[in-house]
Amino acid sequence: MTQRWPIVLFALVMAALPLIPEIPPFWLVLLNNIGLAALVAMGLVLLTGVGGLTSFGQAAFCGFGAYTTAVLSTAYGVSPWLTLPLALIVSGLAAVVLGLITVRLSGHYLPLGTLAWSLGLYYLFGKLEFIGRNDGISAIPPLEIGSWRMLDPGSIYYVIWIAVILSAVLTTNLLDSRTGRGIRALRRGHIAAEAFGVNTARAKLLVFIYAAVLAGLSGWLYAHFLRAVTPTPFGVHASIEYLFIAVVGGAGYIWGGVLGAVIVIVLKEILQSYLPLIFGGQGQLELIVFGLVLVALVHLAPGGVWPWLAGLLPFKRRPPRIDTSLQLAARPATELPPVLLQLEGARKQFGGVVAVNDVSFSVKPKEIVALIGPNGAGKSTTFNLITRVLDSSAGRIIVCGTDVAGTTPQQIARLGVARTFQHVKLIPDMTVLENVALGAHLRGRSGTFASMLRLDRGDEAKLLAEAGRQIERVGLKDQIDQLAGSLSLGQQRIVEIARALCVDPVLLLLDEPAAGLRHMEKQQLAALLRQLRDGGMSILLVEHDMGFVMDLADRIVVLDFGTKIAEGTPDAIKTNPDVIRAYLGAAA
């Protein structure tokens, strides 16, 4: 929940700037350039800083926007206002095509892929006849409102900055929503996001298109501001500069994009006008200094300038108020099948290693089953097979009557299976509340546009209320607004449980939930789990703390080297000679 007045204040200041008497037109040109760059950088913030997808091709999307309007308004005489939606659509479509190819690239291939098509497109812009090859297109008509022709930098200034502020507000809204949580989980928690029903492939494509449309908007404005387009500003160097702007400002922050644009464009201007005076105009000194500053900057402030500046500013984020009286619709009360989870000869091989060797067991409604075994027994791998993080090599796994072969983690979540992870997978730079609300992702409806326009508030309030309730239930009410990364490991595990509860699951998979907890906390956790079971939930848990397991579980399955060696009640397992041998290594 961000405060509104700083943005209003900013908008007022920006609106007043051109009214300063005798302001040099050159300043307005500079401000226009800053606005244009800020739009592209804002898209990059979402794409790279938040979503973790580095793109070297944003300038090319500016090109799509600029050339669309340039061609339509010069060759076909279409009004610039009509070309605006077309420019955005063309950039968006280009992003769909390029995104479908590149977004699924993993790791470093993605930036490299964008670099490749960005180079290709740049050369293409310079070769195509109908967009004027390297000469580009000139004599583009200015924007007009009635008889007001926006020819001077002072008039299009308003259009540019309205676009910047509007985009910033819409983007802020988007990030502070159900869809936004999915996007923010892309960079540092996409496996967890998938497990709670976020379609990460779609979320990636979404931010890719979003960033491209912002770049297209900037391109459209650019064309009508300079009233001529050539390929140069849409090349790789420009793309790199946009990336630079985002990193300088603070790639994780929307206003970092704007701040970065101010810093970089003003710095370049100063370098270009003063360096030759100092050093006597030799060579491209500004290029050298620019490069050196770039290197120095990532050394000194890899997080950018905005977080530092935001710390100095007087306004702070207000934690959202939660109205816990709101209720999300519960899972429709259908008759549960007699067996919730059934493994039949489930198998997983990694090359020659058999991690899970033809394991069969089942979990019935209202039952706590523990999966135990020495380290490396294949317990977490079994979890990953059930939740489809991994493909099983053979065998059948049936969840609530559905064979999971060929399904996605999202579909498993939809079936009512929620999980926690052995290695905690929270998004460290989101608050506890936001992390937990991610668990309720599938229970919300609002999409991208609704979130941007704040039409999602009713839905969102219910999601947050549910998250708040679950946090209270696991006893972390005091930590609700802290960043998840600042919690102790034990508390983070509990946050994961709260997140899983937000799914309103029928089957809860807990991977070592008691690790890192103190004695009292373990007892509270055991009490909570019993309460959940009595409320109708089934729980499958992996745990090493034998005292905890023996007190809690209704039934225990023992794995050793991937193979099931025993199954039975806690008392039977305690005296089972195979189990004792597996744990102690000797015949008892």
């Binding site: 790279t48 973790g52 580095t54 190819i101 590149t102 699924r104 690239l105 993993s106 790791g107 470093h108 291939y109 930036p111 490299l112 892929g113 670099l115 490749a116 098509w117 180079l119 290709g120 050369y123 293409l124 070769k127 892309l186 960079r187 540092r188 928690g189 996409h190 496996i191 790199i240 990336l243 630079f244 990193v247 790639a251 030799q282 060579g283 491209q284 000194l285 500004e286 290029l287 050298i288 200094v289 620019f290 490069g291 050196l292 500053v293 770039l294 290197v295 900057l297 990532v298 050394h299 890899p302």
Partner: protein, 353 residues
Amino acid sequence: MLEGEPALNTTILLFLLQDGITNGAVYALLGLAMVLVFAVTRVILIPQGEFVAYGALTYATLAIGQIPGTAMLAVVMGLVAFAFDLFAARKAFRIKTILRAIAVDIVFPVVVLALTWGLAGRYNAIPVNIALSLLIVAAIGLFLYRIAFQPIAHTSVLVLLIASVGAHLALEGFGLIFFGAEGLRGPAISNAMITIGQLQITGQSLAVYGITIALIVALWLFFDFTLYGKALRATAVNRLGARLVGIRTSLSGQMAFLLASVIGAISGILIVPITTLYYDTGFIVGLKGFVAAIIGGLISYPITAAAAIVVGLVEAFSSFYASNYKEVIVFTLIIPVLVLRSLAAPEVEEEKE
């Protein structure tokens, strides 16, 4: 040059093949260097192009008897690197470390500069010029890692990439100051010419092939059969693990940059007799090597080398059939490869920071 030729005949075919393979061999070298650097340091080496240009233009400048500005740059960068080394050693001040820093950061570039001063114009022999060019660029590559990358070696690939871009811009700017906007050509290593039927092979092409193959074999031997090579690979796989078993990862990074800069300079010296190079040509040449490196997945040396030859051939033939779209074709070539690779490889977990 061949624009407007109506049809492909044997002579042209052979010419294009040879042209493509020669360029491809150079791209292979650059691609290999990029793979090497990425594997060891996770830096995507955008300044590779500057190593090419520096090597070529330093060599060409020496050939006309002048002292290249790069020799001075090496000394200045050495001084900065020395300051960095002193700063890094401020808590554990050991004589041995300081002596090493003095030897590497100060004595080495100063001796190279002195040699350049003493030899340039007086002993204008090709081997001498080549040796000096390689030494100068090697020093620059080494110090570049020390200054720009070693202090942030633990950060994310993105941050390293931004630093890499910064280094590229700065070095390109220096290139313009040192060598001017005019292009230069250097003397050929060999002026021999062999004619086999319709095929004419220049000694320069043969030198390109020979040196490329020799370097590829040397890299392969180095990485697969020497302890040091294995240490570099270990660093690539797991920095922390490598440090725990006693490998000095900062040395590995310096080594990788040293090798990459020497390979870049060699590539430049090989092509500068064939085509005129400008201070900023390196970027595009480097990027084509980069295309090959990406096709090789930034991992595989043989695939990278093969891909580089394909890039060279595609470039040669598209300059014949669709010269306008030559660059478009070369750079979009990697997209289908990337798609195939990402389909084949499972998605990896998000980057750790």
